[in-house]
């Protein structure tokens, strides 16, 4: 576990030097600022960040941004050859995957922390519902965790960052947008299945303030699954 922390710290240092990280950070905060002034910060509006977070915009925006952050996690180590020094040190694959996930996760939390300024603005001019706000941030954290774990999983497959990023984006689009579109075409149990598969369904429910266990479990288990799968892909290099 100490190794995972060491890898996480190294990962955070790397973000300070990564142009992609800066671009993502600036674009994300800029777009959030635009959405906030456009949909939330209005006289007579609801005193919460729902206008910023509801609908498709935020999940799709994060899908692209977090895939960009996640794609380099392991691919870059393979391309630089540093995976060789990492895997020949007494470090387990679980520690590597966990350290990487925690590192990029910490960066994502820093990104989210920037948006707290908007919550403060709402609180100053209105009566902010703190419990709803907590629920919103939990939804954002769970959603981001899932996106990043998928990015990490694909980045374990290839030394090419772009391929990893594209695969993650396509995969996530299928499980957020496409499954939602398919669900809309059907009625009854088929609709229910596809809706349950869709990431956005679970996210939207939480944004509406419905903090049910099944939504949280959906995110936690799928994230855990992709982290586990990434570990196995990495481990398989020792057997092939």
């Amino acid at each position: 576990m100490r190794n995972a922390v060491a890898i996480m710290q190294r990962e955070l240092i790397a973000y300070f030097f990564s142009p992609i990280a800066y671009v993502v950070l600036v674009l994300f905060l800029g777009l959030c600022g635009y959405l906030f002034t456009e949909f939330v910060f209005k006289p007579g509006g609801e005193a919460s960040l729902r206008g910023l977070l509801d609908g498709w915009t935020m999940p799709i925006m994060l899908l692209f941004f977090l895939s960009l952050l996640g794609m380099r996690l392991l691919s870059e180590e393979f391309r630089n050859g540093t995976m060789e020094t990492l895997l020949t040190a007494p470090v387990t694959e679980v520690e590597i995957v966990l350290g990487k996930f925690l590192g990029v996760g910490a960066f994502y939390l820093a990104m989210l922390a920037g948006t707290l300024a908007y919550a403060v603005l709402v609180a100053v001019f209105g009566d902010l519902d703190v419990m709803l706000l907590a629920c919103h941030y939990l939804a954002l954290i769970l959603l981001g965790g899932l996106y990043l774990s998928v990015g990490l999983f694909f980045s374990a497959w290839t030394r090419n960052q772009l391929v990893a990023g594209l695969l993650a984006i396509v995969f996530l689009l299928v499980f957020s947008v496409l499954s939602q579109l398919v669900a809309n075409q059907f009625e009854g149990w088929v609709r229910a299945v596809f809706q349950h598969l869709s990431i956005v369904t679970h996210y939207s429910e939480m944004i509406r303030g419905r903090l049910a266990l099944d939504h949280v479990l959906y995110f936690v288990t799928t994230t855990a699954f992709f982290l586990f799968a990434a570990t196995k892909v990495l481990e398989s290099r020792r057997w092939r």
Binding site: A6, R10, I13, N80, G81, T82, P90
Partner: protein, 316 residues
């Protein structure tokens, strides 16, 4: 310390390493010698647990590289061929990171970093970003990293590749120095290097071990029919006839220049013909200005042995 038995590695249909076996005793410096693509790096990657073998067994300090991978990785310090590092980190940061991975606490890391900084001459650039370092400096940082946890075994893949002559000399000095306290296996395709540094040489080409032994032993196996070079002044034909007549001389080549004749003499196995040649030149009054035995180098051996290998595989 290192024991390899019948190790084979295939990449699909390509046979990279074919049934090799060797032993490295504790305290030895062993050179792994072979042309590019001979299977050196593959063998090293199997020993360092980065890649699995297709079949066969390898142990380091008694631990199996396949089933006891973590224990093996605690025993070894490894410098991969290209000395991969994180360009965005500073040297000291990087060494701290690596120290943490080896489970060293803060005080132990500081002590270890001070030790390797001193031994690998990192002093001047310990606080520089790795991305700014030259190839030679990066190699030294990689080596410092390999030594950080004071491993019993150092495995170095082409530790002098890409260095300038001064750096190569420094690197060799360092390896010799390290050999006093560590068991070292290093690969190289430079023969003079292996000849100078190693107590034991393993020659490998196209995935097979062609020879192994001390550098002297390998050299002897080529120098059996060693040559004698002599230079004397006199009529070419007479010299040729005279020298050829000496018992034990198998072949004489002459090369005349400025009145001096340069003789290249091949004698039969174990025959020393230096004395009769001197006697001859003295009797005939041919001034002699040089006579020396040409000792075969590992270079000759290497060329000879890879040529044999090629001829063999050509026949098949």
């Amino acid at each position: 310390m290192i024991s390899v038995k019948n190790l084979t590695k295939r990449y699909g249909p390509v046979l990279a390493v074919s049934d090799i076996s060797f032993e490295v005793q504790a305290g030895q410096i062993v050179g792994f010698l072979g042309p590019n693509g001979a299977g050196k790096s593959t063998t090293i990657r199997i020993l360092t647990c980065y890649q699995p073998a297709t079949s066969g067994q390898a142990t380091i300090a008694g631990y199996d590289v396949f089933t006891q991978s973590v224990q093996v990785r605690r025993q070894i310090g490894y410098l991969p061929e290209s000395a991969p590092l994180y360009p965005e980190m500073r040297v000291r940061e990087y060494l701290h990171f690596r120290g943490k991975l080896h489970g060293l606490d803060r005080a132990a890391r500081d002590a270890a970093i001070a030790r390797v900084t001193d031994r690998c001459w990192l002093g001047e650039f310990i606080n520089r970003p790795i991305g700014q370092l030259s190839k030679g400096m990066r190699q030294r940082v990689g080596l410092a990293d390999a030594m950080l946890h004071n491993p019993k075994v150092l495995i170095l893949d082409e530790p002098t590749i890409g260095l300038d002559p001064t750096q190569i000399q420094e690197q060799r000095k360092l390896i010799t120095e390290l050999g006093k306290s560590h068991t070292i296996l290093f690969s190289s395709h430079t023969l003079s290097e292996v000849e100078r540094l190693c107590s034991h040489v393993i020659v490998i080409a196209s995935g097979r071990i062609l020879a192994s032994g001390t550098p002297e032993k390998l050299r002897q196996s080529v120098s059996a029919g060693s040559r004698l070079i002599a230079e004397m002044k006199g009529p070419a034909e007479e010299i040729r006839r005279g020298v050829s007549a000496i018992a034990g001389v198998k072949k004489v080549d002459l090369d005349g220049r400025d009145g001096w004749q340069r003789l290249s003499i091949e004698a039969g196995d174990g025959q020393d013909v230096r004395e009769p040649i001197f006697a001859l030149s003295a009797a005939r009054g041919w001034t002699m200005r040089e006579m020396r035995r040409e000792v075969a180098s590992l270079e000759d051996f290497f060329v000879k042995i890879t040529a044999e290998q090629r001829a063999q595989s050509g026949k098949r």
